[in-house]
Symmetry: C2
Subunit: 364 residues, 2 copies
DNA sequence: CGCATTTAATCCATAATCTGAACTAAAGGT
DNA sequence: ACCTTTAGTTCAGATTATGGATTAAATGCG
């Protein structure tokens, strides 16, 4: 029905830049009449805006371009991580309209005060943009999640925390914030704000090593939301002990505590280069398994791997070429992430915006 | 629009067994009027049939149950494998209406004569069920595929074979057969004809080791259709050489040539038990990586692993428990496949039927 | 046995929405 | 000025979902 067609038209506007009604009719296969009616609805909902056509020297009446409007609808992205809290407001055009971060050692605190502090941060951030209507909120957490709860976030010390149960849950548009894994959201952030292609595996090198697979703009979440745990993929049977209690996991080779700082590498420290070689080879082995299983179009190294990329990438590529050469035409390209440490908060906001674009009728 | 609602109603009938129009209205949220009109369309298309309600001792007018009809629409499943060709016709209810297999050593032949023989087999099989309207055909091949071509099937010796290019392509309803990987289709076959849950990783132990992930009734295919190559997932860095040119792949530990025959195991051969332990441990390691990345709801061992299941499973489970215990509430359940070597042909037919159920309007 | 009750399914008028043709609007070319 | 070209709207018509009333077919009770 019309909800579907609204999403179809809005999707074309979001994907293909500013378009006239005539061009939209061509692209969607709908008639000009229908497109006009749908665009009128989108205009009154504040989702799109008109702009005089920037066109020169062509025959015929110039069309009016329809583009996403950043002036009305926006989304709230939130993040709780080991060393900080973050909040941001992103409008429909992808422009960051407000952003706040506070440093905090959340390992030492219980969930309630941490979420209360996040609540204050969210309120302050929202106060910066009083004119925007917030369509929803998503919270990024480094751990496993489901629906409205954090199952287990080892680095925060959280276990089975229902955020809607807290005395004063963070609500936007009468609905509580949804929770999602940090690596998954960072992947979405890279999709929306980075330079990655439409189909890639994002590798998040943070306190742990996670991954998020983006396919056709959607995320692979797994049966219980636990997909993408790249950090505990087998690198060597009987290898070094890992924090998880097992042996030979990727995290034991390429986790944050065994990686050299960029400073050591810039100083040409031979020990640091050797550590990168070891981590790069291990990453290559784990990623070769991931490529065999998931067949991503590209691999994007994010988080703490970004500054180390020049030292890691040659080793990763060497192992991928070696292990995948005979199995496929070419291994997927390996790229550094274009987004920084804020990829996850931005991705959290992006997830809300994707929902709005996919179902504009739900806004009213 | 109505195409969507037709699929909605048909989906409920297919999923939830026979249902009355009133029950369908309840389930779909549509009005009884709309459901009646949609069911009338489905009846005239021959997709569903009416049956007098089997109900006893309840008040009120008894409803007429609507169920899938096996009398009109069916699908053709085809398979080319190393040692045989197979074809089957499956109707909408999932009943196999015709089935033929011929043994053939396809390693020795070029693609053209093999596909010509398959064409004859398909024609013979279709001649057994002249009253059924065939909605489409899918061909299962042990190798990597894309759209209408086989990219590389190492065990057949095929490379870049376009099946629509052959002089007399296999056509059904004016469209050529689609091609799909054998392990993926076997997964679908297990979903439709086996006892597996709705969400699982199917492991196909055939000449190579492949896997197919079923999620919500759909298949994970990957960016280039190469997903599910479990056979070359890393088990041990620097392990034994694999046919692919690399080292330490699962196939080198648990491929067909290193597995004992069931006869040796039944005779309590200690060497055979040791080989199963080694293969089971390797499978466990590779599957632990797969679970960390994909988070399947269950794992189903199929193909040649079925008769070996009692000897393999304890070792697989032990490794999964050991490696996943701390990371998730419980590892996914490990089950033997309920379907036999015909899982892939049946799955090929099932894929056609899924298309019909998802878009009944396309049949006319 | 007849009638109220209950549930299933259809009939019919209404409303929403997409379509297609005709029409108006706004530009360039001659 | 006037024709051509392209954009967008108006208006009648067709399709399809909705909601209430009606008919159909069973059970239960007097």
């Amino acid at each position: 029905m019309r909800a579907r067609n609204l999403a179809l038209v809005l999707g074309e506007v979001a994907g293909g830049g500013p378009l006239t009604r005539a061009a939209l009719a061509e692209l969607t296969g709908l008639t000009k009449t229908t497109v006009s009616s749908l665009v009128a609805d989108l205009l009154s909902a504040g989702l799109v805006a008109e702009a005089p056509a920037a066109r020169a020297g062509e025959r015929g009446r110039p069309g009016v371009e329809v583009r996403l409007s950043g002036e009305h609808v926006a989304a709230l992205g939130l993040e709780v991580n080991v060393g900080y809290l973050a909040a941001c407001v992103v409008d429909l055009t992808g422009t960051v309209r407000a952003r706040r971060t506070v440093r905090a050692d959340n390992r030492a605190s219980r969930p309630e005060p941490v979420l209360a502090a996040l609540h204050r941060l969210a309120d302050e951030t929202l106060a910066d943009v009083p004119s925007l209507r917030i369509a929803g909120a998503v919270l990024a957490v480094p751990g496993t999640v489901g629906e409205d709860r954090v199952h287990h976030a080892p680095h925060l010390g959280w276990r089975d925390v229902r955020i809607t149960d807290l005395t004063d849950p963070i609500r936007v548009a009468d609905r509580p914030a949804a929770v999602e894994n940090e690596a998954n959201l960072a992947a979405l952030g890279e999709l929306e704000f980075g330079s990655a292609p439409r189909d890639f595996l994002y590798v998040s090198g943070e306190t742990g090593v996670g991954a998020g697979l983006v396919r056709d703009g959607g995320l692979l979440r797994g049966a219980t939301g636990l997909a993408g745990e790249l950090g505990h993929v087998v690198v060597a049977d009987g290898g070094p002990a890992c924090r998880c209690g097992s042996r030979g996991c990727l995290e034991a080779y390429a986790g944050q505590d065994v990686l050299p700082g960029p400073a050591a590498l810039a100083a040409d420290d031979p020990g640091a280069a050797a550590a990168c070689a070891r981590a790069g080879r291990a990453l290559g082995l784990a990623l070769s398994s991931a490529v065999n299983l998931l067949d991503p179009g590209a691999i994007v190294l994010g988080g703490r791997y970004v500054p180390l990329f020049p030292w890691l990438a040659p080793h990763v590529r060497a192992v991928l070429d070696e292990r995948l050469g005979a199995l496929r035409p070419a291994p997927p390209v390996l790229l550094p992430a274009a987004t920084g440490p804020d990829a996850a908060v931005l991705g959290a906001a992006a997830r809300v915006l994707r929902r709005v674009l996919a179902d504009p009728a739900s806004l009213g």
